[in-house]
């Protein structure tokens, strides 16, 4: 699977020697091309994910799911996208138009930006920043803003309540999420995602950090606004939450951003806890990139399983669970990890 890196090298070489560009310019162009490839890759994944979500949801509820277009209804989502392109773009007269228009683009930008630091395999990363995981958390928290923009600018009571709930929920669960990743950072001693994966060659961090992994899993379900924590868009009470007023392609961009977020948090879970591209039990016959994707899809399967199995919980239960259970447990986890590392180093030295 070094083929991607070789192509990237060849492209940069060609730009430098063939076209006579400077090193910086050719690097920038190569990065731009790979960024586009990354975006398209995510979109292709999206088609599989939406199909998987519908089929799994149907399976868990003993239905058939989509089964008309293409083999086992696989072409349903591409056709839906084409349909959505032809839908009228309705902007309510009462809405705050500039904010209403840019809210969906903001949601997409924050989702895509998260992929800048995610290494899919050794060397297959757009920018291997030395503050990788910190950058991811920072970008993740700005996602709240776009949803609040959508909720408030729609000038609709459902949207407004949905937007407010999203903010309350996302900021509450961001703290346990950041704290749970802290334990991994302490063990790896680096914020760079590539280093964190390298540190897991002998043992995945899910074993010593099992509690952190569960906290991260629960917190990210809330962060991505998926069931059972999808109060922000609870259909029975709020119609569709913050995007009640959105229609056509603007709604579709929100939808794409939501699934992109799901891929991003599953990738981070893979990198931080499940050993990234490292093959389990020395099964190296599959390329690292494929191992990475298999792990990401296993995580996404877990997210979908939880979504279609548990009923939605009440908002006061949600907030109490976040503040009164997850945060104390995650703080305790950091302290135990700290003492554990210190004792371990004292024994080994």
């Amino acid at each position: 699977m070094d083929i991607f890196i070789k192509i990237a090298g060849a492209l940069q070489d060609w730009l430098m020697n063939g076209m006579g560009l400077s090193v910086t310019a050719s690097e920038l162009i190569a990065t731009a091309v790979w960024a586009l490839v990354a975006i398209l890759f995510i979109l292709v994944n999206l088609i599989i994910l939406v199909w998987m979500e519908r089929k799994l949801g149907a399976f868990f509820q003993m239905r058939r799911g989509p089964n008309r277009l293409g083999p086992a209804g696989f072409l349903q989502f591409p056709v839906d996208i084409v349909k959505v392109l032809g839908k009228e773009d309705i902007i309510p007269a009462a809405a705050d138009k500039p904010i209403y228009k840019i809210a969906s683009i903001c949601a997409f930008v924050t989702t895509i930006c998260a992929f800048a630091v995610i290494p899919f395999a050794k060397g297959m990363v757009l920018e291997d920043l030395n503050i990788g995981i910190f950058y991811f958390i920072a970008i993740g928290s700005t996602a709240t803003l776009s949803l609040l923009m959508a909720g408030i600018s729609s000038n609709n009571k459902y949207s407004f309540i949905g937007g407010m709930r999203t903010v309350a929920q996302m900021i509450s669960y961001e703290i346990p999420m950041a704290f749970s990743l802290l334990g991994v950072v302490m063990m790896a001693g680096s914020l760079r995602l590539t280093d964190i994966v390298e540190a897991q060659q002998n043992m995945w961090f899910v074993i010593p950090q099992a509690i952190a992994f569960i906290i991260y899993f629960v917190a990210t379900i809330a962060e991505t606004n998926r069931g059972p924590f999808d109060l922000a868009e609870g259909e029975q009470e709020l119609v569709a939450g913050y995007f009640t007023e959105y229609s056509g392609i603007r709604w579709a961009i929100f939808f794409i951003a939501e699934y992109g977020n799901l891929v991003a948090v599953a990738s981070i879970a893979t990198i931080m806890f499940l050993g990234g591209w490292n093959a389990p039990f020395g099964l190296t016959f599959l390329p690292p990139f494929l191992w990475f994707m298999i792990k990401v899809y296993c995580m996404i399967f877990m997210f979908m399983w939880v979504r279609w199995t548990f009923p939605r919980i009440r908002i006061d239960h949600l907030m109490h669970f976040g503040w009164k259970f997850l945060i104390p447990v995650s703080i305790a986890n950091i302290m135990v990890t700290g003492i554990g590392i210190y004792v371990y180093r004292m024994i080994t030295n």
């Binding site: 910086t24 959505v84 392109l85 009228e88 309705i90 309350a168 907030m319 180093r345």
Partner: protein, 118 residues
């Protein structure tokens, strides 16, 4: 140093360009005949009543206040976590002092009922 962040800026630009292309593509296809009823605020078929942008529940604001305190703590904890292994005993003691301050604040907020959903 800053050239390392060029990729972030580039992907951000793609993130803006890509939805813009989708919106432009949609503009070519979609019909456009707005009517007053179509543009009215959606509320299950009834006329909407009263203001939407009103003063909202205080409990949301309380959560936001505690969040700010906690999030700043998180930012301080990350550099500490990176250096933790080389700091040794000093790192542990520092952590307990820092966490104690954090927990006292958390306990106070809990006691005062800021974490209750009313």
């Amino acid at each position: 140093m800053l050239i390392k962040y060029a990729g972030v800026v580039i992907i951000m630009i793609w993130g803006i360009v890509f939805p813009a292309i989708l919106l432009g593509l949609s503009k070519l296809f979609h019909p456009n005949n707005p009517t007053p009823t179509k543009l009215s605020t959606y509320e299950c078929g009834l006329e909407t009543q009263g203001e939407t942008w009103v003063q909202f529940k205080i409990s949301y604001f309380m959560y936001a206040l505690i969040f700010v305190a906690f999030d700043v703590e998180t930012i301080f904890l990350y550099p500490w976590a990176v250096r933790f292994q080389s700091l040794g005993l000093f790192g542990i003691v520092e952590m307990f002092i820092f966490m104690a301050i954090l927990i006292v604040g958390f306990w106070y907020a809990w006691k005062e009922g800021a974490l209750e959903w009313m």
